[in-house]
């Protein structure tokens, strides 16, 4: 424990220094971890409730935020890592802000968003009590070279989990993990009700996941299924139905995230889970930064939609594609975007054909226009410079609902500009 305190003190110091320099959020965590790799274990293991990890390729941030809200609505004190710092070091950095030198967190539960690539590293230090595993999709980021490898990492994470695992019944890479959980560990499920399975085409990429056969049919008592009523409203069925709910955030992806969060809240809270309270809570959760965020541009909505891999872009298009909204697409290829833009060819853009795309932008704006050309989608303009593109897009589409699909660094850039103009919350400031 002394060593832990020392590590935390050193980390806090580093945190102060890196803040003064305006540096990144991973440094203080790195300092602490170097001194005491067990710091996570020491600090988190003492929590009276447990440790819930949320992992998978798409939807981690939104789902984590919803799950935290659900647990807090049930009177639980929850520690969580802020949006976008989902590496082990980010978790430590977040803890440093909240814990006294004693190393005790003032919380019942930790609910942590874990990057797949870092899930194993985390699980080596700490055994989660619960794991919510969302999906495995090929991410465009170069560090996830192989989809099989990602599935393996999540399987290992499930093996390390001590009390309950929540799995996606519709993703065979995830559902087959049920065979790997430890003895006495409960398995709960979430998914899309078969009656609305037709909403899912394209959600799963054309890869080899189906070749290994289907998962065992889950027990309905432990299953939370998404029943979609219309574009905005849905119910999560299960032991007691949650809904109808209308989320702050639009789209099928958000509904699936809400279903996953509900299943995990049921697994964590057990008997004390209150369906009516859960429905009220889900309706109040605001979208995390960049996930379907709506910016008020002189009284008209501008939606910023982060796209980072084929499955995510496909879902976003399926949600938004047919609505009459003026569209811009901004594609960068920095490391944080994924340097390879090949993945754009694993997305079908046909739903944009009728409406067309007003503008493509970013370092790979011309490549995006080329991709659209091959899907027969008309592109009015190409302007690689993001500032010039945004200026023109807002000017020429004044007074109309607009939407920008963008990769990570393009989104950061555009949001900074929009924040300056329309007074948005600062980065990382995500009102709870």
């Amino acid at each position: 424990m002394i060593r832990s305190s020392l590590a935390i003190a050193a980390g806090k110091l580093a945190r102060g220094v890196s803040r003064l320099r305006g540096g990144g959020s991973a440094l203080p965590g790195l300092v602490t971890e170097t001194i005491d790799p067990q710091v996570l274990a020491h600090t988190l293991a003492g929590l009276p409730g447990g440790i819930v990890v949320v992992s998978g390729t798409n939807g981690k941030t939104t789902t984590t935020k919803m799950l935290v809200a659900l647990l807090r609505a049930h009177g639980q004190r929850v520690f969580t890592n802020p949006t976008g710092s989902n590496f082990t070091r980010g978790v430590i950095s977040a803890m440093l802000a909240e814990i006294p030198l004693s190393g005790r967190l003032d919380a019942d539960w930790a609910v942590l968003e874990l990057d797949e690539a870092h899930a194993l590293h985390f699980a080596r230090a700490v055994s989660p009590t619960h794991a919510l595993l969302l999906n495995v999709a090929r991410d465009q980021l170069d560090r996830f070279a192989e989809i099989d490898q990602t599935a393996q990492l999540l399987t290992r994470l499930a093996e390390q989990t001590t009390r309950g695992v929540v799995l996606n019944v519709d993703d065979s890479f995830i559902s087959r993990i049920h065979g790997s959980v430890g003895e006495g560990v409960s398995v709960a499920w979430f998914g899309v009700d078969p009656s609305c399975a037709d909403l899912l085409p394209g959600l799963q990429e054309a890869d080899v996941r189906d070749a290994d056969g289907a998962a065992a049919l889950p027990d309905s008592a432990d299953t939370s299924l998404l029943l979609v009523h219309d574009e905005r409203s849905f119910t999560v069925t299960g032991s007691a139905d949650v809904g109808p709910v209308t989320l702050q955030q639009r789209g099928l992806a958000a509904m699936i995230n809400a279903t996953a969060a509900t299943a995990a809240a049921r697994a964590v809270l057990g008997e004390t889970f209150d369906a009516a309270r859960a429905a009220r809570t889900l309706a109040t959760v605001t979208p995390p930064f960049g996930r379907g965020e709506v910016i008020d541009v002189d009284g008209h909505p501008l939606e910023l939609v982060l796209v980072k891999n084929p499955a995510g872009f496909t879902v976003a298009l399926g949600t938004y594609g047919n609505e009459p909204v003026d569209t811009m697409i901004a594609i960068n290829d920095n490391y944080a975007d994924g340097r390879d833009v090949s993945w754009l060819y694993d997305v079908s853009f046909e739903s944009l054909r009728e409406q067309g795309v007003a503008l493509t932008s970013g370092v790979r704006g011309w490549d995006m226009a080329l991709r659209l050309q091959y899907d027969g989608v008309p592109v009015a303009q190409v302007e690689p410079d993001l500032d010039a593109a945004l200026e023109r897009f807002l000017e020429e589409h004044r007074g109309r609902p607009t939407r920008i699909f963008c990769t990570y660094t393009a989104m950061m850039h555009l949001r900074r500009r929009l924040a300056a103009r329309y007074g948005l919350a600062r980065f990382g400031e995500d009102a709870q």
């Binding site: 080899v208 340097r339 390879d340 833009v341 090949s342 060819y345 226009a369 091959y374 190409v382």
Partner: protein, 252 residues
């Protein structure tokens, strides 16, 4: 096997060209199916009809084949196609020797070579259509690429762990101007024998390099119809995308 006619057939077709994509489920990672779609679209733009045959393991071979494509895959994907590839080996060698144009990317490029030697030293034989040998390598070669090739500069993106060495007298597909290429040391990328091209370039390679696309189509359409009568195609967007990559990567 499924055969799908590409939509929007021209009013008067100059002829029908049959494309085969080998193992689209197992071997088309990183958008390699975009190559097949690009060729089908371009055939239509040039006034031809295109039929795309998705060849899955165990399926019968299509009756007409004018061009064969293959892409990259994961190890599990390669393992799944190995058996069918052995069944089709003689046929593919025959078609290659007969001049059928083929484009094999990444994993399929490796399988078209003499052998793949695993990191543990196990030698897995390939089809031997291209005289190349690939050795498993712990460090991946990843990043954007520019090549000089006989049909002009080619841009793409490589992502492979195997290091490939050309056999004596084997022609490469191109010379590396930016990137790693076959092995990161000898400046070669890919391999080319007759009308068969192997390359590590994703991107996917064909949409951003229309000259390469039309080179393959010329060979395929000539086989199918006896001649190649291209139409005027507006490639200005592709040229912008292409030139920007070349400029940006060769600047440094």
């Amino acid at each position: 096997m499924t055969a799908t006619a590409d939509g929007g057939e021209p009013a008067v077709s100059k002829g029908t060209v049959h494309l085969v994509h080998l193992y689209p489920r197992e071997m088309s990672i990183y958008g390699d199916l975009g190559n097949t779609r690009a060729l089908a679209s371009r055939l239509r733009w040039h006034g031809y009809s295109a039929v795309v045959h998705d060849h899955h393991p165990g399926a019968p071979w299509p009756e007409q084949v004018h061009l064969v494509l293959g892409g990259g895959g994961q190890d599990s994907g390669q393992a799944r196609v190995q058996e069918d590839l052995a069944v089709q080996a003689d046929r593919l060698r025959g078609l290659a020797a007969d001049g059928v144009p083929m484009l094999m990317i990444c994993g399929m490029y490796q399988l078209f070579g003499q052998a793949f030697v695993t990191a543990e030293g196990r030698r897995l034989p390939g089809l031997g259509i291209l005289d190349v040998t690939t050795t498993g390598n712990p460090t991946r070669m990843i990043g954007p690429v520019v090549l000089d090739t006989p049909i002009g500069q080619v841009v793409g993106y490589e992502n492979h762990s195997g290091a490939t060495v050309l056999g004596e007298g084997q022609e490469p597909f191109g010379r590396v101007r930016h990137g790693q290429g076959n092995n990161g040391t000898d400046g070669t990328e890919g391999a080319r024998t007759g009308n068969v091209i192997g390359s590590y370039l994703h991107g996917p390679i064909l949409p951003a390099n229309p000259a390469l696309s039309d080179h393959l189509l010329e060979l395929a359409a000539t086989r199918a119809t006896g001649s190649w009568e291209p139409a005027e195609v507006d490639d200005s967007i592709a040229e912008q995308a292409h030139q920007r990559q070349v400029r940006r990567l060769l600047r440094g």
